[in-house]
């Protein structure tokens, strides 16, 4: 079996504040194979974003390890510079990560410069233009400022910026939840197109369960900092086993009044998972914390 691109082993993140410890991520283990899309779902406070940030190398790790291509993050001999290029993060609100006084073209060129991915200014300009075209922005976008763009276009800028350094792995943290419905679908199609063209691997962090089902090969369900259910998307969605997953899936709204009027909400009967609970296989490619 080939080595996974990303391997997370017993990852815990504990925040300490005023002598109180908050366990945001609790002994989480999973792997992501190259070329796949893994969905990470859960409610606010479940630990999904903290997990994503730890994997992307920008969040704290209290214990456990994150390995990228077999190299343990932060260990001796770990090539941080290469990792910084290979792994990129895309946020919900790209506006907050863009400098309002920097032209879009310069913002995209920054990474190309930092990693010396172009041999000349002309080559860099060509790369910026190619990136704008790939994300569906007009050529003159390079000379404009972030505030001149709509939310959907800013997310396209954020994607172009991430792609500029020729990454392998994107951590997408709620990349569409701030966008209007008709624009969400455009961005999702764009992300799938780019994944095909560039053979990228995605970790898609979201609370929109319909989009996760549509987009992801595998899904991880987080609650109270732990992964309570994991497996192939079809297995988890058609046969949820953990009470939390059942409750979450029963609440997903469908654009179908007859379905909505007949649906029965499953209350979440699960309490905080027992400390010694383990992800246990329940079916082919399907695990539940018990």
């Amino acid at each position: 079996m080939p080595e996974p691109l990303v391997a997370v082993q017993d990852l815990s993140v504990i925040f300490r504040k005023n002598r109180r410890a908050l366990t945001a991520v609790d002994r989480v283990s999973f792997a992501i194979d190259a070329g796949t899309t893994v969905g990470l779902v859960g409610e606010s406070g479940s630990g999904k974003s903290t997990t994503g940030r730890a994997i992307a190398g920008i969040g704290p790790i209290t214990s456990g390890t994150v390995s990228y291509r077999g190299q343990v993050l932060g260990a001796r001999g770990f090539d941080r510079r290469a990792f910084r290029r290979q792994v990129q993060l895309i946020f919900q609100d790209p506006f907050s990560s863009l400098d309002p006084r920097q032209k879009v073209g310069d913002a995209i060129a920054e990474g190309i410069e930092n990693f010396r991915l172009a041999n000349s200014a002309a080559e860099r300009r060509d790369q910026v233009q190619a990136l704008l075209a790939q994300v569906g922005l007009p050529p003159d976008a390079a000379n404009r400022f972030p505030h001149e763009f709509s939310g959907g276009q800013r997310q396209r800028i954020g994607i172009a910026r991430a792609l500029a350094v020729q990454p392998e792995f994107l951590v997408l943290d709620e990349p569409i939840s701030a966008l209007d419905v008709s624009i969400q679908a455009q961005i999702v199609n764009l992300l799938r197109q780019i994944q095909r063209d560039r053979h990228l691997t995605y970790l898609f962090i979201a609370h929109d369960l319909s989009m996760v089902r549509y987009l992801c090969d595998r899904v991880l369900v987080m609650s109270h900092g732990r992964i309570v259910e994991a497996g192939a998307t079809a297995a988890v969605y058609t046969d949820p086993r953990h009470p939390y997953t059942k409750s979450l899936l029963s609440a997903v709204p469908h654009a179908d009044p007859i379905y909505e009027h007949q649906k029965i909400l499953v209350p979440d009967t699960s309490s905080a998972p027992a400390p010694d609970a383990k992800l246990t296989p329940v079916a082919k490619d399907h695990w539940v914390l018990q």
Binding site: D180, V181, Y214, L248, P253, A255, P257, L265, D268
Partner: protein, 349 residues
């Protein structure tokens, strides 16, 4: 059925530094007594501005003109700020997405909820406390006395949303206007808040105007649906008509943008482009540049409203009898087939 809200030919413009923003461009809207009407649209479509005009919540930079505007038995066509102040909270209350910005962080919950009542009535101290505790119990928060003694930051997001609903309903308004009240909530909390609004509506004979961009939520709560685009209602009908017999290509795009369980992993159907610049609306149908089915006339002349049924109206040239035959996307054809089955069943019953 009588109407609790009636708006005719509403226009709202905002004077901005670089020109005039045409936010609402001729909206006709009625809300029947006791129904839930969902207004669906994307940012800038004019959905919130329409209801803010009804409640007199727009600032001095807004110019509002309307042929008629009525809330319950109060004619608001030529209302002054004082007139609006006389209906807000008493006849119609507003709840919105972020309860934290609606609640005073330095005031205990009980006192804040009570203030929404003492604006209108002057119950004795004991009666007021009783009313506040009942309002909190009504929104299904456990231990009302404890909740009343807390400050907003001591409650969770879902609890604060319930407090805002209690505050909105304590003066017994006839209409609840809910502006994206569940957008910031997780799906399970969202489902609970929707159920709460439904329960309150049934209990109090409320009429509800629910503003959202989420068609899944609309399917859950709406009796009727109005779809807005570029400051106009482009399609309005019963929930059955909008979800199973949609006629406007924009409605098709919204319905198709959310993948359903059966969606294979082919590309999601998307509307190309972005909404128009509301400073400079194009000639003709403002939706034309994004409409895969656009006709030549769409770029020349704005479409009139066509009636599909007495309850279903659509603003699109596609409905003109002279329009050549066309096919909606396959997913929409599936919805039409369900509509045919629903109608057939209804005619047998």
């Amino acid at each position: 059925m009588s109407d609790i809200i009636e708006i005719q030919n509403l226009h709202v413009q905002f004077q901005e530094d670089h020109g005039i923003l045409h936010a609402v461009n001729g909206v006709d809207l009625t809300v029947h007594q006791g129904e839930t009407l969902a207004i669906v649209g994307e940012s800038g479509s004019g959905k919130s501005v329409t209801t803010h005009a009804l409640l007199g919540l727009l600032g001095k930079d807004a110019t509002v003109t309307t042929d008629a505007m009525r809330l319950a038995d109060v004619d608001l066509t030529h209302a002054t700020p004082r007139d609006f102040a006389g209906v807000r909270g008493r006849l119609a209350s507003l709840i919105f997405q972020d309860p934290l910005s609606a609640l005073n962080p330095t005031m205990r919950i009980g006192r804040q909820i009570g203030e929404a009542l003492t604006v209108w009535h002057h119950p004795g101290k004991a009666a007021l406390r009783q009313a506040v505790l009942e309002a909190i119990a009504d929104v299904e928060l456990p231990d009302p006395a404890l909740v009343a003694s807390k400050y907003p930051h001591e409650l969770s997001g879902g609890q604060r949303q319930r407090v805002m609903i209690a505050q909105a309903l304590i003066a017994q308004p006839r209409v609840l206007i809910a502006d994206e009240p569940t957008t910031a909530l997780d799906v399970t909390l969202q489902a609970q808040v929707l159920a709460l609004i439904q329960a309150q509506k049934a209990k109090r004979d409320l009429s509800v105007v629910f503003i959202t961009h989420d068609l899944g939520v609309v399917a859950n709560i709406a009796d009727r649906v109005a779809i807005m685009y570029a400051g106009q209602i482009v399609e309005v009908g019963t929930a059955t008509e909008i979800f199973y017999h949609p006629q406007h290509p924009y409605t098709w795009g919204l319905l198709d943008a959310v993948p359903d369980d059966t969606a294979d992993r082919s590309e999601l159907f998307t509307l190309p482009g972005t909404p128009p610049d509301m400073h400079q609306l194009p000639v003709g149908d403002p939706f034309a540049p994004r409409n895969p089915q656009a006709l030549a006339i769409d770029y020349q002349q704005a479409p009139p409203v066509f009636a599909v049924t007495p309850t279903h109206r659509v603003r699109s040239w596609l409905l003109d009898p002279r329009t050549p035959p066309y096919q909606p996307p396959v997913s929409i054809q599936r919805r039409w087939a369900r509509y045919a089955a629903i109608m057939k069943e209804a005619s047998h019953a």
